[in-house]
């Protein structure tokens, strides 16, 4: 097949270059044949051999034509001719085409923007060579529970402990390399020693991180294998391209200079390329350090503690190793580790996921959301296509005659349909280009969303090649879909009737029917889209006003990254802040509600029977100082809160929440019960802790979560040093920001604050970031949909008025008042829009039930009224706007002058 194509191409190219030669050869070959035949006929004694020979040969011209077509790129040439005719048509119908272009670019732009958003969050793979060979390696303990919690947090879960990672790396033969990266650290970084620094995202990675991912540093080198062997020895760093540009003016002599991170100097050895952003598209590290330098973050236990599962692990599959083989091997190693370390690894399964597979299993809701969004943007694109179809139909009268003439000249129907499809595809390609501009504007908006006041994290969404390819495919599909109906209609008409009839509007009635049908569909789709975005907005609003279970008003929060002397720092700061006038309370917590970081503690509860393969229960946890429950108004339902003794003396006490009491202490009193606990901030050996209090439920990961079991620990020696200060004030908390900062500076000259602001702002901005972004994008898309469908309705009514001006003229002449006429036209529009609205309302009720999970709050029992409210406002808004769209043509109709209308031919 391939060599055959090659021969063809070679021969054809030869012909293309020597066209004349081909012509002569064809002539010669045929002439020769005829001459030979003539000779034979003469020998046989035929009368007039010459003309007989010619006659026998048949239609020479046709054969030559046939051969010529065989040799040339006829298909290409015809296509080019069609494109030229199409361009001419577009130029002639500039205004209609402009409207077409506008519709398409908005429709395609909305779709491309949605694709871009989800490509960024969900679909895209790591930006490294042969990325399809990179897979996630996951440890799942009691999969459903942990997986669910992480899914809520929206992060990549299934984390692996450092010790397990080292064993995996040693034993697994399926991988060219296995690399690890730590959770984001946000230490205080001074690029130039002695000068002002700031908090940056830092990641601790295995030495083979760059080499195994095949990321070539643009300057310098990656890490050497020996650099992640001995803890605390090799203080080397690779910095990101953006840090290099920002702080070092892209100078190559940055290699060898030192960068200060948490009062430790690191030598810069390399700069990562700008195309590479680590393993997380959102939080992009600015500095990479060797894995074993975790000591800088005062967290040395995590290197050896198998229950401290904090690493994300990915591996590059060896050539020829299938995903299944790798999965089997990793599962086997997991089982071995489980046998060797039963105290920490029992019930821990290890497996391998593709990049997409990991996201799908961890965060199925993202795919559901993607479904809703693609549905909505697809519907808006549908509205745009209907507009285009309608506009093309309105050019039909002119078209039909053109088509008739071409049919008369011998064009086939297929050729005509193709011609018209080419036109609409041409327009949609232009639409795709403009659509990409729209998508880029949308991406620009998303990029400006600020996540933290003092941390350079943003959503680096940009229109790239993938989006462009997607938009082009969508555009061509849209072009074909929207061009097909008009194309089929225009080319269907009978030749004889067309050429005969002077009045090309004769086919108008049938066309109006189609156009009305399309407009009803448009209004229906717009209602569906509006309703879906209305539900998202309602959901967002309900979430915003939902009670998180802790105090939101009058709280200033100050997020800090670790300090070597955090213990004294926080104690002194709290003392100073509590003494300030106007400050009612102050406390510290890590992690903070809705903040960065997920911490778990593994507990065994006396008297609770676990599942057969469970060694312990992973429970979300936070370390808090005394006064935390008072400050954030989380009532202690039973028992007591923490006091200074608990934090100072390393008391072995914990407080649990109501959800935990209900889940694990059914019918028992949890107070005084002892639990054995291991993991975060505790030693690697299990310790016994006593439950001294039960706190009311509060939300921790997201506003939409269900209450989860939770353990509060007193903040004491073994904790990483991060912390968020909560200052409860009399009056506006934002006005205390400077005072608080000054007080902190009195304790430490350079307090590592990475985010300051009020709690209410934080919750609006941070805790609901995904919901807000989705509601905004959805609303934007649906407004576009509404505008497009209103344009469509307006176009159809206006067209119908222009068609009926003759009739309207007669009506006025026989005594209809202007008002009658206005009412007549309005009635037509209202009938259309009411039908559409009714259909849309039914359709959106069906769709909403499909996506019930997404609209959890709207659906929850107490808020039936919000569903009704959404429907009511959608119906009122669409009715009002459609009325407006019909009013202008209706007014226009009432202005018809019967004298002019009746004298006119159409």
């Amino acid at each position: 097949m391939v060599p055959e194509l090659f021969t063809q191409l070679k021969l054809r190219l030869k012909v293309l270059l020597r066209r004349r030669q081909l012509e002569r050869d064809l002539e010669d070959e045929i002439a020769f044949h005829v001459a030979m035949r003539e000779k034979k006929l003469r020998e046989n004694g035929t009368v007039d051999p010459r003309s007989t020979a010619y006659r026998q040969f048949g239609n020479q011209t046709r054969i030559k034509e046939d051969l010529r077509e065989k040799w040339s790129f006829a298909a290409v040439e015809r296509l080019w001719a069609d494109v030229r005719i199409g361009l001419r048509f577009i130029q002639k119908n500039r205004w209609a085409m402009f409207a077409v272009l506008l519709s398409l670019s908005l429709g395609i732009g909305a779709t491309a923007a949605v694709f871009n958003l989800f490509d960024f969050f969900v679909f895209r793979s790591f930006p490294v060579p042969q990325t399809n060979r990179i897979v996630w390696i996951a440890a799942q303990s009691q999969a459903s529970e942990i997986g669910h919690l992480f899914a809520n947090a929206g992060g990549i879960g299934y984390l692996v402990s450092n010790a397990d990672f080292e064993d995996l790396r040693e034993r697994a033969a399926s991988f060219e390399g296995i690399v690890s990266s730590s959770p984001d650290q946000i230490p205080y970084v001074q690029p130039h020693s002695g000068q002002q620094g700031r908090n940056l995202i830092v990641q601790l990675v295995s030495a083979n991180f760059f080499s195994a991912l095949r990321v070539q540093p643009i300057v310098g080198r990656g890490f050497r294998p020996e650099e992640d062997e001995v803890p605390d020895r090799d203080a080397v760093a690779v910095i990101s391209d953006s840090l290099w540009r920002r702080e070092y003016d892209s100078k190559p002599d940055v290699i060898g200079t030192s960068i200060r991170i948490n009062s430790r100097d690191f030598t810069i050895v390399g700069v990562a390329p700008s195309s590479f952003y680590g393993l997380d598209p959102i939080a992009r590290p600015e500095v990479y350090l060797p894995r074993v330098m975790e000591t800088v973050f005062a967290n040395d236990a995590s290197l050896t503690d198998r229950t401290s599962r904090r690493l994300q692990i990915v591996g590059r599959l060896k050539d020829g190793v299938s995903l299944e083989q790798a999965r089997e091997e990793v599962a086997r190693i997991g089982t071995d580790l489980e046998r060797e370390h039963p105290e920490s690894n029992r019930g821990l399964r290890m497996t391998v996921y593709t990049q997409l597979g990991a996201k799908m299993s961890l965060n199925p809701e993202a795919f559901l959301a993607a479904g809703i969004f693609f549905l909505v943007s697809g519907l808006v694109l549908g509205i745009a296509c209907v507009n285009v179809a309608n506009l093309l139909l309105s050019t039909a009268p002119v078209r039909t005659r053109e088509m008739a003439i071409r049919v008369a000249l011998g064009a086939s129907r297929g050729r005509l349909v193709r011609q018209m499809l080419i036109e609409s595809v041409l327009v949609s390609i232009a639409g795709a280009l403009m659509g990409l501009v729209v998508a880029e504007l949308c991406a620009h908006f998303i990029r400006t969303v600020e996540l933290f006041s003092n941390l350079p994290i943003n959503l680096n969404v940009a229109v790239d090649k993938r989006v462009a390819v997607f938009a082009s495919i969508v555009a061509i599909a849209a072009g074909i879909v929207s061009g097909l109906i008009p194309a089929l209609r225009s080319s269907r008409s009978r030749l004889s009737t067309l050429l005969k009839s002077e009045d090309t509007h004769i086919t108008g009635a049938g066309k109006m029917r189609i156009r009305r049908g399309l407009v009803i569909a448009q209004v229906a789709i717009a209602v569906v889209v509006l309703a879906l975005s209305g539900f998202s907005l309602a959901e967002l609003q309900l979430l915003r006003n939902a009670d998180p279970g802790f105090r939101v008003n009058n709280v200033l929060r100050v997020a800090l990254s670790p300090l070597p002397h955090h213990k004294t720092f926080f104690r002194e700061s709290l003392e100073r802040l509590r003494a300030l006038p106007g400050v009612r309370a102050a406390a510290v917590s890590y992690p903070e509600p809705f903040g960065i970081g997920n911490e778990f503690v593994n507990v065994v509860i006396d008297g609770y029977t676990m599942l057969p393969d469970q060694t312990s229960l992973p429970i979300m946890t936070a370390a808090v100082t005394d006064g935390y429950f008072d400050a954030l108004q989380i009532p202690i339902v039973r028992g007591r809160g923490f006091d200074v003794r608990d934090t100072e003396e390393d008391a072995r006490v914990i407080i649990i929440n109501e959800a935990m009491a209900a889940k694990y202490f059914a019918g028992r009193d949890p107070l005084g019960v002892r639990v054995r606990a291991m993991g975060t901030w505790l030693s690697t050996q299990p310790v016994t802790l006593e439950i001294v209090g039960i706190a009311r439920n509060a939300k921790y990961r997201s506003m939409s979560e269900q209450f989860e079991p939770f353990v509060y620990q007193p903040m004491k020696k073994h904790w990483p040093g991060y912390g968020t200060l909560f200052v409860v004030t009399n009056g506006e908390p934002a006005s205390f920001a400077n005072t608080v900062r000054r007080e902190l500076a009195n304790v430490d000259p350079n307090p590592p604050v990475y985010d300051t602001g009020t709690m209410s702002l934080f919750i609006r901005r941070e805790a609901l970031i995904v919901e807000r972004l989705m509601a905004q994008v959805m609303t934007g898309v649906s407004v576009v949909g509404l505008i497009l469908s209103v344009l469509g309705l307006y176009g159809v009514i206006a067209y119908s008025v222009s068609q009926r001006s003759h009739e309207i003229g007669i009506r006025i002449a026989v005594g209809a008042t202007r008002r009658d006429v206005t009412r007549l036209i309005l009635a037509e529009g209202v009938k259309l829009s009411l039908t559409g609205i009714a259909a849309g309302a039914i359709l959106s009720a069906v769709l909403k039930s499909l996506f019930d999970v997404y609209f959890r709050y709207v659906n929850s029992s107490g808020s039936i009224s919000s569903t009704a409210l959404v429907y009511a406002s959608v119906i009122i808004v669409s009715l009002a706007i459609t009325l407006l769209a019909c009013y202008m043509p209706a007014r226009h109709a009432s202005m018809v002058d019967p004298n002019v209308a009746l004298r006119c031919d159409n």
Partner: protein, 113 residues
């Protein structure tokens, strides 16, 4: 066209290619010779229309089954000579086999009645 045309069977779709390939196993030929060879070898049962012959020749050439060269013919005129390529030879063998199978099968069916 001619009166003998009426007696000659219509060529089945695809069999013309087979006949052309077969004829060229005798060596290089130009279009007229091929037509004559088929006509005479079939004892005048088959005649090839020029309107079909030349498109078929050119199609086979484009597909690499035949190669062509220009030469001066016996009567001193420029003529285009066609020759089998290895690919053409292979195709001929395959088509012959498949033709045999098909025709035998058809015969078998026709004889059952």
């Amino acid at each position: 066209m001619g009166s003998n045309e009426d007696r000659s069977a219509d060529l089945l779709q695809g069999t013309l290619d087979l006949l052309i390939l077969k004829s060229l196993t005798k060596g290089e030929m130009h279009g007229y010779e091929i037509a004559e060879w088929i006509h005479s070898t079939s004892e005048e049962a088959l005649s090839v229309e020029e309107g079909a012959l030349y498109p078929a020749l050119h199609r086979l050439e484009l597909r690499g089954m035949l190669s062509s060269s220009w030469d001066v013919s016996a009567n001193n005129r420029r003529a285009k000579y066609y020759k089998l390529t290895p690919a053409g030879r292979k195709r001929l063998k395959e088509s012959t086999d498949s033709w045999r199978r098909t025709s035998m099968a058809i015969n078998r069916i026709l004889e059952t009645a």
